[in-house]
């Protein structure tokens, strides 16, 4: 995955901006509603299902399904382009091998690949319920292997990006409930997972200029 499509994503977000409905979202400030000059910091905690979506050309069966959890901290300024950071943990893939012949003898082996994202995220609402998110940064990709009865854990940083679309189901006081469809892409080894998750958001700090 040599291409790094954060820029096209941001361009698409920009292209979408003039079409915004301007409907107010009550939980967080929104400059489209009025010149409120309100600011907030919001926290979103999510978790769900991940599916490894990239080709795996080696002739082995990999388990592409796994779990994911993530945390997003966003600054909501008095305009619609929000920014923040995201981290968490996600499963990429895993596999188990039997009777692998090596020059050291025969062994069973297993591998699990996961990642901790560390991303700068930009978000923009396009309707009352729909938001787009794009992020750039990287992933601490962790490889955990077992072979010949011993384990090895190696972590390597990979550049990467994310793109997501989320849907707000409802708001209750300072809380809200969302679903999110998200892509995490780590470029160094062409790793990418599609994530479907539920997440809860809350406004942890709000102030007015």
């Amino acid at each position: 995955m040599k291409a790094f499509p954060v820029l096209p994503l941001l361009l698409l977000l920009s292209a979408a901006a003039p079409r915004l409905s301007g409907q107010e979202i009550s939980l967080f400030p929104d400059s489209a509603a009025a010149a409120q000059q309100e600011f907030a910091i919001g926290l979103t905690l999510g978790g769900g299902y991940s599916h490894y979506f990239m080709p795996y050309d080696a002739p082995i069966e990999i388990d592409r399904m796994g779990g994911t959890v993530n945390l997003r901290l966003m600054l909501y300024p008095d305009h619609r382009l929000r920014m923040g950071i995201e981290t968490g943990w996600t499963h990429f893939y895993s596999y188990a091998l039997e009777d692998i012949e090596t020059s050291f003898g025969v062994t069973d082996a297993s591998l699990s690949l996961s990642a901790i994202p560390l991303l700068a995220v930009f978000s923009m609402p396009v309707t009352d319920h729909l938001q787009f998110h794009a992020g750039t940064g990287g992933y601490f990709v962790r490889s955990h292997t077992t072979s010949f009865g011993s384990t090895a854990d190696v972590t390597e940083f990979s550049q990467g990006w994310m793109g997501a679309v989320s849907w707000i189901w409802g708001e209750w006081g300072t809380l809200r409930l969302e679903s999110e469809l998200k892509w995490y892409g780590a470029t160094q080894f062409d790793d990418g997972v599609l994530i479907l998750q539920m997440q809860g958001g809350c406004n942890i700090l709000r102030w007015q200029k």
Binding site: Y56, A58, F104, A152, Q188, F189, D190
Partner: protein
């Protein structure tokens, strides 16, 4: 929703990358199955420069036919084209079947040639060297999956150019880079077995160290998809033991990362390569390389092989480490730095980067001291011709050994 679909499509379509190895799905052995095999003497008699009478769009005006690596290869100066042939004899007719590949792009196809008994086949079978015009190769070639699209006619023109002192055509990374889409992965055993068929008579290989101290052949410091199939292993190659690498990691051609000892054993016993340049990466202790060098030099002597294994000295750190070896003066070394460092390390070879030019005065000075001079890594056809014509090098390291072979033998 349309916007979302557009976004996801953009994300997914931006991620495709083709890594197909570019040679035809064709076994030339099938074409000559059942025929009598050609002897080495016959194939050596076929060697030479041939004028291209028909087939110029593919082959250019002249080609080199060379017996190398136990078979015949054809080299052209046009688009760095090479052909590998299988050969056989039926009655008095000699048959060559193979595939061609342009190394500057991914064009490839099948080529078939015959020499009729009355058009030189008879004299070649008697091992006689032809005179100009005495041998005609007729046949055809096709592009991609197509066969027999155009006719080929080659006429023997003259013998191969040979210098009194053997010229070293050194194949980078055992034959070329993965980006050249060769039939095997770079720095692999399979590729080193093919190196001579590309026209090389020596190779450069890259040595890294595993976590348990085993020298292996791998170019980069990190495991990556340029050099390996996706495995799930991340990080530096030196963070894994050889057992872990053998269990999980495969090169793009499916082979495991070879150890230095296995690579040298294959070079020694399964090829006639006469030169190995060990490019020592920072993690590899030179004392370890020196032990391996000594052991395989002894084996080459026992097997009666003309094989020289040299330790590369690419920077000042490696030079300092080399000078700390108790027997560095006896170790065969290749220094990439200035000539004073070459003298200080008592290196047998000086290898200046090709961008420094021919440097004839310095080259002559080094040769007068009994050293040999190699240029690296030269791939550009214009400079290859210029270096061969105007330079005084004893050899050239290249990703395109077929191109060097063409320009060298057709001088």
């Amino acid at each position: 929703m349309r916007f979302t679909i557009l976004l996801l499509s953009l994300l997914l379509l931006s991620c495709t990358e083709d890594s197909t190895v570019s040679v035809p799905d064709y076994d030339p052995g099938d074409e000559v199955a059942g025929m009598a095999r050609l002897s080495a003497e016959i194939m050596q008699a076929m060697e030479g420069i041939y004028k291209v009478e028909e087939g110029n769009p593919l082959l250019g005006d002249e080609i080199v036919l060379k017996y190398t690596g136990g078979s015949l290869s054809l080299f052209s100066g046009r688009d760095a084209l090479w052909c590998f042939f299988d050969s056989g004899r039926m009655d008095s007719t000699l048959h060559l079947a193979g595939y061609w590949r342009k190394q500057v792009n991914e064009e490839t196809g099948v080529i078939r040639l015959t020499i009729d008994g009355a058009e030189g086949g008879g004299m070649l079978q008697r091992g006689e060297r032809p005179r100009p015009g005495e041998v005609l190769l007729r046949g055809d070639y096709g592009s991609g999956a197509a066969r027999s699209q155009r006719e080929v006619l080659l006429t023997y023109s003259r013998p191969l150019h040979v210098d009194e002192r053997p010229f070293l055509i050194l194949a980078h990374r055992a034959g070329g880079r993965n980006s050249d889409r060769l039939p095997a992965a770079e720095n692999s055993v399979e590729l080193v077995r093919l190196a001579e068929r590309f026209g090389a008579n020596g190779v450069e290989i890259d040595v890294q160290l595993t976590a348990d101290g085993v020298p292996v052949i791998y170019h980069d410091e990190y495991l990556n998809q340029r050099l390996t199939q996706k495995s799930g292993l991340v990080g530096k190659i030196g963070e894994y033991t050889l057992a872990q690498l053998e269990t999980f990691v495969h090169l793009p051609n499916g082979e495991r990362i070879p150890t230095l000892k296995r690579m040298l054993a294959v070079i020694l016993r399964q090829t006639n390569l006469r030169f190995v340049w060990l490019d020592s990466k920072p993690s590899v202790p030179l004392a370890l390389l020196r032990d391996v060098q000594r052991a395989y030099a002894d084996s080459a002597h026992i097997f009666g092989r003309d094989l020289q294994i040299v330790i590369g000295l690419p920077d000042e750190e490696k030079v300092a480490e080399f000078l700390r070896l108790p027997d560095y003066a006896e170790a065969s070394a290749l220094c990439e730095l200035d000539i004073e460092t070459v003298r200080r390390t008592e290196s047998e070879f000086w290898a200046p980067r090709w961008t420094l030019g021919t440097q004839n005065a310095l080259t002559t000075a080094m040769q007068a001291e009994g050293r040999r001079v190699l240029s690296w890594t030269l791939d550009e056809p214009g400079y290859i011709q210029s270096f061969l014509r105007d330079g005084r090098f004893d050899g050239i390291l290249t990703n395109y050994p077929a191109l060097i072979a063409y320009f060298y033998y057709s001088q």
